[in-house]
Structures are given as structure tokens and as C-alpha cells.
Symmetry: D3
């Protein structure tokens, strides 16, 4: 289900088409996933989101696979099913091994657990952790 | 504030003391942060949490700094202030540079944004993302 | 799926039927959505929820469409898929245009992003924001 | 507390200073709140966040006060204390009356309640709500 | 901090005073905690919230202490610090032992962990769990 | 959908098989739900999760049905659909009556509501609630 229809390539405004063109070129693939097809109703939002995502997830100080694993971690904690699926697929496409995935899942589970324990106990932050 | 008092070293049961000893030995530091001092009321929970954390965050397929960054990502999304402080401090202690931290923060912000967009639009998962 | 069956009109207790009657009368529609059919197992909860909802979402200082947009915003942040669907449909029924919806989605995305940034950075609240 | 120091005006890079100048000019106020002072360590993130925020929260189809109320709603559901404080202050500065604020709070509470009920009952989405 | 001032007894409207009287009578204590003092700005919300809370948390099929433990569990998962403090205090006042509290905390931590694991793995619901 | 395949009994490693054997023996049932089949890819995580769950949810100071209700409460607040389904089924298997379930749902809804109200109002914690 969705609260917004998904636009096919034939339905795109010229502004949205230009973004799709850049997604395809950047990724070296013709495939456009549903997220962008839903956003395409609002070309300004589509363009702003894609351009910022391209910058944030592009080359930098943190390697591309690590970036995807961080993205998965946030998406799981926010209970975003689509995002968890899409970024897990992206991480695998960027070389995440089964062993790395197992560790990622274990870390996510562990972090959730200690987040819950800390919040239950309302542990005060140590002075040593402050900047 | 807290919903549980923090135990000083003098208040520890022998079982809790043994865990504190292992934390100190493993970390090579005398400092025990408040999380463990709150958990120490329940030596079984203290021991289970520490032993699992040591295993999950120990040597493996994902490097130690990346593990801390994943931990931060989950903690932020779960709005756990203590956890965000403690794991950011841990990441810095493991060598996270200012530039890496800036990228981490940007990725976390980006992921939150697209999580929100996807959930608002209720985007259906692409068949391509399924295993 | 569900953890509770959905009651058809024929299954209702007299107390639940009276609430359904009021929902139909208030909305000027025969359609009763699944939320109420699941709640109908507990007529007291059904009645309390409907009466409070009717009051909170009824005429007041904030116009009906704005109320629905606020409801959507909360529902998205709480990752409630059903609620996001139902209140987006309600907002459209109350006249939300495509352009307004696009802006709403953009605001929700932006708020999620800055929520994530603030929590990652643990920004202290400015004295100027206190009452 | 914070995981990042807050930059004073004297500490700013030229790129960050330019953003602060635009914030001051746009808002017609010399006051720069802590969020921007924490972001200022990363001028690219500061600039991207401010420019997008200015666009999303600027003139459009939804009036400025409604935009702030939607922002508050998301921030509360994401348990972002700073964001709740800052956007409540912003809404008041944009004319939110006490009566409107009371209604906003009531709607947020109501939405949280029905979000919880729906998720507990795992209510399936009605076909009528699909686009 | 707060986004709403706390009303002292001298500041109450007659409607709010009547609710405070009922809280004091029901609880057999003169103490009124800050939550009600913040809500008192909106007597209708104050009254609706108190009356519903009194009903839901009053005598029924689930014993009073268990009700408080369930309330704590929700409050922790929603990262509500105030609520975690107040309902932990309430549970202790209703007889929660240290051993029960330890178990409660352990269950909350465990549930957070498996919630995280399940969401990371996007485990499909077994047909056996459907009603 | 899932981000990880579900292992059939024929696909199990010896270590995973041993855990499945213990689950079946402990529960007195041949049925293994999907959660464990997804975790079985990582026998160490499977074993650690099962053994800790068995301990936490096993005999103790809090009765088994109450433990399941607390687990449901966390799972709902974390928006974990699978977990809500599985623990609601478990609670029913442990004797939860329809009347108890109705009360549980009402408490969960109420707690969500007051969590939202408290966070919206940013109510400061009363000194009386501190340990």
C-alpha cells in the first residue's frame, strides 16, 4: 500500500525526469526504486533529497559500505521497513559479506538492548563523556 | 536523575565486583561508567550484559570504530541521550576524527529524513530488495 | 494481519452498536473503518476513544484540515502505517490539495532530519526557549 | 550536555559565518540558537540544513504557524526535547495562542494514543484508504 | 525545563481545582505531581486525562502493580524520561520489590533487543500467530 | 518479506540444530517460529538470544503471563509488528483472557497518550520521583 501513487517514467515532469536521469547515471543502473517514484510527484523534494543523499553517501571519510551499515542501523531503530530492505540490499551490493551482516545485526540488537536498559534506569551521563 | 542508585565499588556484591574487574581489565582503565554502576544492583543482568557486549563489540568482521558508529546511530534513533554520549566518547577514544564524526552526523540526519519521507508516503518495498 | 478480529455489524454488542451509530451520524457516512471494528471487542474502550477523538478533532481553535495534518505527522513519527493511511485519507477528504500534501511530507522529512541531528549532537536547550 | 561544542561567533569559519549572516538576515534577529552553533563545525552540513529548512519552512501552501505545529508534532513523537522546546517557542513567536497550543497538545496526545491502540491490535489497513 | 509553566494551587481555575481535589482524594495524598500542574492550563484536557487514567489504572482484571509495570515498559520504549521516573516511583509505592524491578528491567532490555533483531531481519509473521 | 532467508530444519548447522532442539524441548512443541529460523544463519547470535530469553522469560519474581504482557507493551511502543503478533499469541497461550487483553490494550493506549502529553509539555521530573 501507499499514500501516494508511484510514477512511471511516462508520467514524469521534465524536472523529475532530469533527477531520474542523474540517479541512473550515478548508479550505473536503469533501475529506479519506488522511493523515488513516490517522491517524483514533488520534483523539488525529489531533487533536494537526491542531491543531498548523493553528497552524504558519496565519497568521503567513511567508506561506502560503512555508510550503508549506519543507514541500516538508523532505519531499523526508526522501524522503517522499506528503508531497512533497501539499504540492506544496497549494503550487499557494496560487498557486505554474510559474516559482516551477522555482526551488524548483532550490534543493532545489542544497542537496542542497552538503550532500553539505560532508559529504564534513567542513568545519568558521566561527566567524563561531556565535551 | 535516575530510577536506580549508582553503586560505588564499596557497595558491590562479589559477583558484581568480578564483572567490574573484567571491565577494567578488558578496557585497560580503572574508570567504570554509570551504566554499569546502575546495572550492578542485579549481578546476573550486569554479567549477561557485559559478557554479550564484550563479545559483540570485540574483534570480528567489522572494525571497532565502525561498530561504535553503528551503535551511535541506533542510540540516536532511539533517543537515548546517555548512550549517544557514551558511544560518541567511545568512538573518539577509538580514533574517530572530526571529519568522520561530521560525516556520521550527516548520515544519521539523512537517514532520519528519508525514514520520515518513506513512512509518510508508505512506499511499498520493491521486489528487487527481497531475498 | 491483526491480533484482534474485526467485528462485523452483526457481531456488535448494544453498547458498541450505539457508538457505531454515532460514528456514522457524526461522519455522515455508513463506512466504519477497521480501527473501530477491532476496538469494538471492548465497548468501554471503543466509547472512550471515539468520544475523546470526536471532541479533540471537532470544531475548535485549529481548523479541521490542520488537525489532520498534525495527526499524520505524529503517526509517521510513530511508524504507525495504518494511522498514516487513515489520516492521509481523512486529510484528503477534508480538502488537502496535492501541493499541501507535498509540503506536509517535506516538513515531516525535514523535522525528522533535524530531530536526528539534534539528538546526535545532544544540543543543550537555549535559555531563550524556556517558559 | 552535548557531544559537540557550541561555536561562538569568533570561532566561525568564513563559510559558517556566511550562513549565520543569512540566518540573522532572514529571521531579522541577532540571536543564533545552539543548534546552528553545534552544526557550525561542519559548514557544509550547516549550509545544507539551513538552506533546506529555509525553503521548507518558508512561504508556501501551508501557513507558517501550521508548519511549526506540524514540526512540534514530529519532534514530540521522536522524543526530541530540544526540538520540542525550540519549535514551541517558534510557534508562539508566530502567534500561536494559548488556546491553539492547548488543542495542539490534545491532538498530539490523542494521536499517540490511537497509534498505540492500532499497533497493539495490528489493525489491517482498509482498502478504502489506499490510493 | 518545560514548554508550559506549572500551575500552583493558587493559580487554578475552578474546573482544574475540582480535578486536583479528586486526584488528592483518590490517591489519599496531598501531593500533586508536575504532570497535572502542566495540564491544568487546559481544564478540559486535565479532566479528560485524569478521568480516563483513573478508569484504566483502577481496579480490573490486571492487578495494580502489573499495570504500573506495563506503563513503565511503554514509557521506556517511548523514551519518556518523566513517565519512566513517575511510574517507577508509582510501582515502588504499590509494592514492587527490588527483585521484581530487576526482572522488569531485564525483560524491557530483552524485548528491545529482539525488537531490534526482528526489525533488522524483517521477519515475516508466522501464520500461526494470526487470529 | 525479509532481509534474511528463513532456514528450514534441513539447512541448519549442528550448532543451530542444538538450539532448535532446546527450544522444542523447553516449549514442549515442535513448532519453531520464523524469528529463530532467521537468526539461525548466525548460530552464535541464535544461541545467545535464546539462552538469554529463556532465562529472562523463565520462572522468577514476575509471573509468566505478566512477563508476556510487558513484552507486548515494549513491542507495541517500538512498532515491531512481528513481536506484537508473536507475544500476543504467547500471552494467549499462557492464559490471557479477553478481558485482560482489553485492559492491556487500554493501558498501552493510555501510556502512549500521557507519554505524548508529557513530551509535548516537557514536564520537569518531580524531586519526589528521584531515588
Amino acid at each position: 500500500m501507499a499514500t501516494q501513487t508511484l510514477l512511471s517514467d511516462a508520467d514524469l515532469s521534465p524536472e523529475a525526469r532530469a533527477v531520474f536521469d542523474d540517479i541512473r547515471k550515478t548508479r550505473g543502473s536503469d533501475f529506479i526504486n519506488n522511493f523515488w517514484r513516490a517522491l517524483a510527484h514533488d520534483p523539488a523534494l525529489l531533487k533536494a533529497t537526491w542531491e543531498r543523499l548523493k553528497q552524504v553517501m558519496g565519497p568521503g571519510e567513511i567508506d561506502p559500505l560503512t555508510k550503508e551499515m549506519i543507514y541500516i542501523a538508523v532505519s531499523v531503530a526508526n522501524a522503517c521497513s522499506y528503508c531497512t530492505h533497501s539499504h540492506t540490499a544496497a549494503a550487499r551490493a557494496k560487498g557486505m559479506t554474510d559474516a559482516q551482516y551477522s555482526e551488524l545485526v548483532a550490534i543493532i540488537g545489542m544497542a537496542h538492548q542497552t538503550n532500553g536498559l539505560v532508559t529504564a534506569l534513567q542513568v545519568p551521563t558521566d561527566a567524563e563523556f561531556q565535551v
